[in-house]
């Protein structure tokens, strides 16, 4: 396999793992962030504080915990997920869910303050309120998701531990950069770094273009 083919394979795997993690994390974090904006309950402030605190979760610790859970002697060892892309996705979901939830909560809180009286006066159900806020705040939520994407695509510590950086199986751009740097091949490592930055920029541009965030008069 030539270097171009290998680079292509690693880049695609990076994208696949990150986008899968982003989809799963967004599906959890966006409704959670919106629910926290709309619903008042006893430990709400504590939950919000916890989510904000978890934004700074050290990836290496996440990797270690996921490793322990998925290792043969761990509770999920029977699933044989350790050193697979699935394990990497799990670790990334844990890392980026609080990031997306926290940013989503912030923007949904502002939108809820704006819509509160109207939605109450129209006698909306809790579910209708959450769906309305998600729909009308979708462009702000996109920013939250992109922040999660940025965190996930550049992640190395956790996925190195749970993925193992196995060639043709779990090697992604970040772990390949770490490997090449360790081997002293700085030129290749730097090249991979530019590819990583390029992918991140392309994905951001593609999502912004598709969702028309900058179109005049839209959100």
């Amino acid at each position: 396999m030539g270097i171009d083919e290998e680079l292509w394979e690693i880049s695609l795997r990076s994208l696949r793992v990150t986008l899968a993690a982003l989809l799963i994390a967004s599906a959890i974090a966006i409704p959670l962030g919106t629910y926290l904006a709309v619903q008042r309950f006893r430990y709400r402030r504590f939950v919000i504080s916890m989510i904000n605190a978890l934004m700074g979760l050290p990836p290496v610790v996440v990797g270690l915990v996921v490793y322990i859970m998925l290792s043969r002697s761990g509770p999920f060892g029977v699933l044989n997920l350790l050193f697979t892309p699935t394990a990497m996705i799990i670790a990334q979901v844990i890392i980026i869910t609080p990031v997306i939830a926290s940013i989503a909560h912030q923007s949904m809180r502002e939108l809820w303050a704006e819509y509160h009286d109207l939605l109450i006066s129209l006698n909306t159900s809790k579910r209708q309120r959450i769906l309305t806020l998600i729909y009308d705040g979708r462009r702000n939520l996109l920013t939250a998701a992109l922040a999660g994407f940025g965190r996930a695509i550049g992640e190395v510590g956790a996925i190195m531990i749970v993925g193992g950086n196995i060639d043709h199986v779990t090697r992604v751009l970040t772990t390949a950069i770490a490997l090449e740097t360790g081997k002293g091949d700085f030129a290749l490592a730097l090249g991979l770094g530019f590819v990583l930055i390029g992918i991140a920029i392309l994905v951001n541009l593609a999502i912004h273009t598709l969702s028309r965030t900058e179109r005049e008069g839209r959100w």
Binding site: Y115, D117, L118, I120, S121, L122, T132, D136, G217, R218
Partner: protein, 233 residues
């Protein structure tokens, strides 16, 4: 005559941070006409409307509707709340919540867009409308469900004469068609033009109420002073 009325408030109190902002209020609103609520700033006009509509909870007392179907009463806020959607989508929203069939929604939206003169802006963003257009859209959005009663909180505040006239014409039309209006205003000219009944609030309490004739024969010195334009506290 509206199915929702009469509406009776008995011994209603609302307290905020230990301070009574409304009450005690005992009031029965009859089945027909337009009731105008007037009073100085901070007298509790907005709070009374919010309590009647059910947006605000009462600390004591009861708010009893003859037939309480929340879809049958609408509310128009002093500052119109525009959803981050197009003008047509803003209008359609209350009907979508009720799962109204799409063809009926389209018909109702077309009707109201024509009625408020915003057909040309149907696909424009609602937040880009002028103040008067926003308020007309907010009123149409509240009326699209065909409510029995419409509460309006100073809908013409900060609007110019032209926009005020358009809104008053719209309100007069819906009132003539049988919708019960309950409106707070600080514009005494508007109150005289629209009122069948008047409620004068002072310091969170109903100081005087009666038919529109009390504009000319106020029973209390406070209402007489308020109508003269004096500062009443």
């Amino acid at each position: 005559m509206t199915a929702a009325f009469p509406l009776t408030l008995s011994g209603v109190h609302v307290r905020k941070q230990g301070k009574t902002v409304l009450g005690p209020v005992d009031l029965t609103l009859a089945t027909d006409g337009t009731t105008i609520i007037v009073g100085p700033n901070g007298s509790g006009k907005t709070m009374l409307l919010r309590v009647m509509h059910g947006i605000e909870r009462v600390n004591d007392g009861q708010v009893a509707w003859e037939c309480d179907d929340p879809a049958k009463h609408g509310f128009v806020f002093q500052t119109p709340i525009m959803m981050r959607r197009t003008v047509a989508e803003n209008l359609a929203y209350p009907l979508k919540l009720l799962k109204t069939p799409k063809d009926q929604i389209a018909m109702a939206v077309d009707h109201w867009l024509a009625r408020i003169g915003l057909e040309a802006s149907r696909n424009g963003q609602a937040t880009r409308l002028s103040g008067g257009e926003r308020q007309k859209l907010a009123i149409a959005r509240a009326l699209i469900r065909k409510p029995d009663v419409l509460f309006l909180d100073e809908p013409c505040a900060n609007l110019d004469g032209h926009a005020t006239r358009e809104i008053e014409a719209l309100l007069y039309e819906v009132a003539s068609a049988g919708t019960r209006l309950v409106m707070a205003t600080h514009d005494m000219g508007q109150a005289r033009r629209l009122a069948n009944d008047l409620v004068f609030l002072l310091d969170g309490k109903i100081h005087e109420l009666g038919p529109a004739a009390i504009f000319d024969r106020p029973a209390t010195g406070a209402l007489a002073a308020f109508l003269r334009g004096d500062i009443v506290t």
